[in-house]
């Protein structure tokens, strides 16, 4: 089935991107891995007919957040501090055990659950927009306020102090 093939490819892309994102010693490559993972995620959304979300995901994450991260990397890059020492060796065992353990527990939870009928919800941009602007209007506005606050706050924090 083409959909299954697409799912497998996207899954590999997502997980592989995630592995690159946390594994790459070079931060630029890590960002690329993140982008790969996010695009794979968008594909997984698309497979579930969440068109709008897929597109928004790419627009916001790949077009926005990833670029911001790259900018931050450029601005914080320093000579003589090799990015290669990317992981803290003393944290690695604990982090590995915790990450693997958490994944194992959650997968085990999923395994025990009974598989349910999984219809593909028919959510179009129109229905999503109607939900956002009717039922979820107040949270929607609150989120816009939050964005504004975050924007102003980030500007204030990051601004160079004038000497």
């Amino acid at each position: 089935m083409p959909a299954d093939i697409a799912f497998a490819m996207l899954g590999v892309m997502t997980i592989g991107g995630a592995l690159v994102a946390v594994g790459a010693g070079n931060l630029y490559r890590a960002v690329l891995g993140l982008m790969l993972c996010l695009v794979g995620m968008a594909g997984l959304f698309l497979l579930q007919r969440a068109d709008f979300l897929a597109v928004a995901q790419v627009l916001i994450y790949v077009g926005g957040v990833a670029v911001l991260i790259v900018f931050a990397v450029i601005l914080t890059e320093r000579e003589g501090e090799p990015l290669a020492a990317a992981v803290n060796p003393r944290m690695v065992p604990a982090a590995l055990i915790l990450g693997a353990g958490l994944t194992a527990v959650l997968v085990s939870v999923l395994w025990r659950s009974t598989p349910a009928e999984s219809p593909v919800a028919d959510v179009t941009a129109r229905t999503l927009a109607e939900a956002l602007l009717n039922r979820y209007l107040v949270p929607f506005e609150a989120v816009s306020l939050l964005l504004l606050a975050a924007l102003v706050g980030a500007l204030l924090i990051a601004k160079e102090k004038e000497s």
Partner: protein, 614 residues
């Protein structure tokens, strides 16, 4: 209309207190005006209440109440109770307070913090009036303590001087001893009755709910409070020292507010006391002893205000004596008349002090010419105090003596002796202060301004005429059930000899100098010293405190410092050590914290999963 509108009587002075404290403090004469206006309205209302009682009868108390707070076991109310006792007391308190406040305009005219003075006075009146109108123990107690606080504030009004501050503290602490007993008694009776209300408790007492012995215990405990407030032996020591306060305040304390509270409380709870003959006996004996004890001390004091202070203690003893032998009406009548002439005497003494700037009688003398108004009003007050007919004191004291004679001859003897002393020392005061040669301080003395004279005159008139109301008073208080006893002319004629003898003795000693008082003092030196040192009561207390209380305290302090503090410090040390060790867990690295958070979440999740939650 009555008694609801009477809420204004305590409320107005209280409001004056608030207004003065918050608004008019910078303008001292305005503050005085506010206070006087408030008390004037309260005075008029009180007069209205009394006349209402006289026309409508006072057999049953009129009560309005609001629920203050409700618990599962107790309901506390706040209310107003208008009956003969409270009606009369309202008039007494507001009259004296009004006179004192007007008088203070002159006496305190140079005081910079006049606003504070009038604020305290207003609060003092408000709390006393609230006490008078109380319907239940709780309200009574609250007002009772407020009265104590106000007296503390006013005695220590000149708090920047050592003596007033010390006297204020002494007054507060001493009355506190009595209040402890009062509080215990109050808790006992109220928990036993399940109510604070006088009416309910009275009903239960009348129904014979409790044994006489238990009631006696309660009554004696309650009487402790009264003894403290009304300066009965052995808790009288604060009152003479309280003379350090401004003289008008002394007048107020002695005549209407502070000391009257004790007597009033006993009268108000008379139903309780009269249920226990033993308690009545205690009251009577304490009263009688106080009466003669204080009168004896008063004989030899040099300070004009101290003489008056001891005379107050003595007169309060008479009131208690009357109450103790069952003469509620007689006791209250004495309170009534005493309020007027004692206020008069204090204001007169204040006038003298104002003119001479000294308290010592031996520095005055010959003031009769220079201060005629003060002299004549003072004489009127003294005659009333001595119990010379037909002044007010005669009627009230005579009633008490008559009553006591019928009950207990020993106490009667004490009372008669006290009466003799009273006449003597008042004669002494007048002779030394106003007659004879002018001495050091009276050279530049002059009559006081009219704002001080007017209250003197009004009170003098009241001191003369108040006694004639004794029959009506008795009817009002007794509620018409017992026919007024009336004046026993024969008995009065006999007892009248006593004050006259006292006056005669005084005149002989201090005008004619035969025998010479100084020679007498030398001759009876031990007795004189004993009296001069006020029976060594203060010294005894000092000794007790130094030797017993402070030593026990030292032991307890050691315990507190080493055992209690040690335990507390030990706990603190333990906490600190634990924290010192634990803070190494706080590495300051955000990823370690995140590890802890995620780890905790993972473990919880795993436990829930294994337990089968999902």
């Amino acid at each position: 209309m009555f008694p609801g509108i009477l809420a204004l009587v305590p409320a107005l002075p209280f409001l004056a207190f608030v207004v003065i404290g918050l608004v008019t403090r910078p303008w001292r004469w305005l503050s005085a005006g506010v206070a006087i206006a408030a008390i004037s309205v309260a005075f008029l209302l009180s007069l209205g209440a009394l006349s209402f009682l006289l026309t409508a009868g006072a057999e049953t108390p009129r009560v309005v109440e609001l629920t203050w707070l409700t618990t599962s076991t107790l309901n506390a109310h706040i209310g107003l109770r208008l009956d003969a006792l409270s009606g009369i007391m309202l008039v007494v308190v507001t009259t004296v307070a009004l006179m004192v406040q007007i008088y203070s305009l002159g006496y305190m005219s140079e005081e910079p913090s006049l606003s504070r003075y009038y604020a305290y006075l207003s609060l003092f009146c408000a709390s006393m009036l609230g006490l008078v109108l109380a319907t239940n123990f709780l309200q009574l107690y609250v007002c009772w303590e407020l009265v104590g606080v106000c007296s503390y504030l006013l005695i220590g009004f000149w708090y920047d001087r050592h003596a007033p501050a010390f006297a204020a503290k002494k007054a507060f602490v001493t009355t506190r001893f009595g209040d402890l007993g009062f509080l215990i008694g109050l808790i006992m009776i109220c928990t036993a009755a399940g109510s604070f209300d006088f009416v309910e408790i009275q009903a239960k007492v009348a129904a014979g709910t409790w044994t006489a012995g238990w009631l006696g215990t309660v009554a004696v405990l309650l009487f402790c409070g009264a003894a403290g407030k009304s300066a009965q032996v052995p808790l009288h020591v604060w009152l003479p020292d309280a003379m350090e306060g401004p003289t008008p305040v002394s007048a107020l304390i002695h005549a209407a507010t502070m000391v009257a509270a004790g007597v009033y409380m006993v009268a108000r709870l008379f139903f309780l006391f009269s249920a226990s003959p033993d308690a009545m006996q205690v009251v009577a004996v304490i009263g009688g002893v106080t009466a003669i004890f204080a009168a004896l001390i008063a004989l030899v004091q040099d300070d004009i205000k101290r003489v008056l202070a001891y005379s107050t203690i003595s007169q309060l003893g008479y009131m208690m004596l009357a109450l103790g032998v069952g003469g509620m009406a007689a006791g209250m009548f004495h309170l009534f008349t005493h309020a007027f002439f004692k206020a008069l005497l204090f204001l007169g003494a204040g006038s003298v002090i104002h003119a001479t700037h000294t308290n010592n009688m031996w520095e005055m003398g010959g003031l009769r010419k220079k201060m005629p108004w003060t002299f004549w009003t003072f004489v009127a007050g003294s005659l009333a105090l001595a119990g010379v007919a037909p002044f007010a004191g005669f009627f009230s004291k005579d009633a008490i003596l008559h009553l006591v004679m019928g009950k207990n001859l020993f106490l009667f003897a004490l009372a008669v002796l006290g009466s003799l002393c009273t006449a003597f020392y008042m004669t002494r005061v007048i002779c030394v202060t106003f007659l004879g040669e002018a001495r050091a301080a009276s050279g530049h003395a002059h009559e006081s301004p009219w704002v001080m004279r007017v209250p003197l005159v009004i009170l003098a008139v009241l001191s003369v005429v108040a006694g004639f109301w004794h029959a009506g008073f008795e009817r009002l208080v007794q509620g018409g059930e017992a026919e007024a006893e009336g004046l026993n002319l024969g008995f009065a004629a006999v007892t009248q000899m006593v004050p006259l003898a006292g006056i005669l003795a005084g005149v002989m000693l201090y005008v004619l100098k035969s025998p010479d008082p100084d020679a007498l003092a030398v001759r009876f030196a031990p007795l004189y010293t004993l009296l001069k040192r006020r029976f060594y009561v203060d010294e005894l207390y000092d000794w007790i405190i130094d030797r017993i209380v402070l030593r026990c305290s030292a032991g307890l302090a050691w315990f507190d410092r080493h055992v209690v503090d040690g335990a507390v410090n030990g706990v603190a040390w333990l906490t600190q050590q634990t924290g010192t060790q634990l803070r190494y867990v706080q590495t300051g690295r955000v990823q370690h914290y995140a590890l802890a958070v995620f780890g905790g979440a993972a473990i919880l999740l795993a436990i829930a999963h294994v337990a089968g939650a999902f």
